[in-house]
Amino acid sequence: MTVANRAGLHARAALLVANCVRQYQAKVELVMDRQRVDALDMLQVLSLGAARGQSITLEATGVEAEAVLDSLERLFAAGFHEDEAEGEEQ
């Protein structure tokens, strides 16, 4: 996946990722520059400091691995809904 939004994978985006992962029975790891972190560990995700244009590999295991990856793919592609109305954010 490529980080598409201007601000990069900052706190709000990382929160959306974590919230997304929580809805599925799966464990997701983000891999960037040989660093591997659990998608639910916010501090580690932020420590990656993924900026715009950075590519990140997502790896999922578990019963709903496919589904969670689909969902995350949409989230990344939408640039974490950065420019959308407030009401849509969760």
């Binding site: 900052h10 706190a11 709000r12 932020l46």
Partner: protein, 576 residues
Amino acid sequence: MQKLQGIAVSPGVAIGEALVVDSEGFRIPRRFVSRDTVEYEVERLNKAMAAAGDEIGRHRDAVSRELGAKYGAIFETHLQILQDSKLHSELEEMIAERHYSPEYAVSRVMRRYAEVFQRVQSRNVADLVDIEKRLLRNLLGRRREGISQLTSPVLVLAHDLTPSEAANLDRRFVRGFVTEVGGLGSHTAIVAGALEIPAVVGTGPFLTDVSGGDLVIIDGDNGLVVLHPDEETIARYRHEVEELRSLAARLETLRDLPAETKDGARIELSGNIEFPHEVDHCVDRGADGIGLYRTEFLYLAADKEPDEEVHLAAYNRVVQSMGKRPVTIRTFDLGADKVPHLPNPEDERNPALGQRSIRLSLRNVDMFKTQLRAILRASALGNVRIMFPLISTILELRQAKMVLADVMEDLDEHGVPYQRNLPVGIMVEVPSVVMMIDHFVDEVDFLSIGTNDLIQYTLAVDRSNKDVVWLYNACDPSVLKLIAMTVEAARRKSVPVNLCGQMSASPTYTMLLLGMGLRQLSVPPSAIPEVKKICRSVTIEQCEKVARHAFTFENARDVKSYLRKELKKHVPELGQ
């Protein structure tokens, strides 16, 4: 090892343990816990983390309710960071394996993450600091330690110190200061100077790289701070500390000898002070008087305006300690923005050129009169002189003298004793005064050249701004010319002239100043021995030759390197 360059504001070298003071005045010492209490300490950490989590949850709910989910999400982020599984295991491991106290572990780990965040340019650094503080608050509870209670020697490292923090530090244990912000005139600089301990300010951010208890070196001569020094560096600085100590011991033998040149010219060498207790430093070093008693801390140390008795108590302490020797008290010299009890100025976009100092005194006549009454009352006990700062026109001087006359009349009416003919003088620190100096010398009893502001106003440079500070030079030929004009005008009318800025304290300039005709110098008490040593090592003829040659250069750098060379030649001991 990591070296930081800042601005040297108080000389000397200190090696010791860091005391890290953050914006809330926390101190996080390196502490170890014993093996048998590890379990208890881990439990304490878990409780603090849970409590911090609850707090954040409550904030999130309240903020979401009042401002909307978007704002509540900020706290949701904090909660998620706090619940990071790796963070928790790292903290536990530090306590269990390395036996760190939970407080130290938290400050250590969070600061390390803050460094990572800074490196990857994450905008969430502030969030980490916030979480760290919350955790520490929960861990320390009421046991939060302020910086006023210390039990062992420390070097204070802080972002900035408020005047009251700086003034309330336990003097017995503070061995040096470093602040991330600030310049030559900052409170930290003044307090460090008064305590005669090394200080470096304006280093830029570094507190995330250091923890309480770390070994740190402060090199106040070169404005350097060394974090985590290696063995070789420590050894080198230890050697330097020894050298400084032995030089100080040698200079101490000059204590009871006069500041007199080899050819018999007597130099009046006085001390500059800020706090009454510094008068002891002056007496100990055989000062000829107090050339500059700054009174600003009376206004800064408390939230309300100091009354006459507060002023008087401070002045009496100084005047009585000096006996017959003169004490020059400078009236209020601050901007309204610095004084808590004055209304905030409306139009102060440019404080250095705004309503400060004597201008503010003349605007707040009651406050001014309170101070003048106290100075006059103190004059009954010794040899007191009054000095008005930042005078820029002759009318201002006359106005100030009129207020003084009013106060005298008032004291006469009430039969309060004071020294009727006490000398009244001004600081020469605005170039306009030098331009009009022939008029001023007819209306004052003495002049005192304040080089710090004179340089600032002549070269239009703020010395606390590190982007332009390189332009700030005491020996800029333009500044030297202004000093020469002042000295010459004063000589013609036999008006005593003193020089009290930082320039007088630097051994580099002593020969030049004597050569220009100055016979009164006022320096921080710590500089008295060195300056006296130079006076006693040279002749006026030599100094005059140096001054003549110094005036042939057209830029500050050449003047300075020439002066250094001459100092080395004439007083090798001080011309390193």
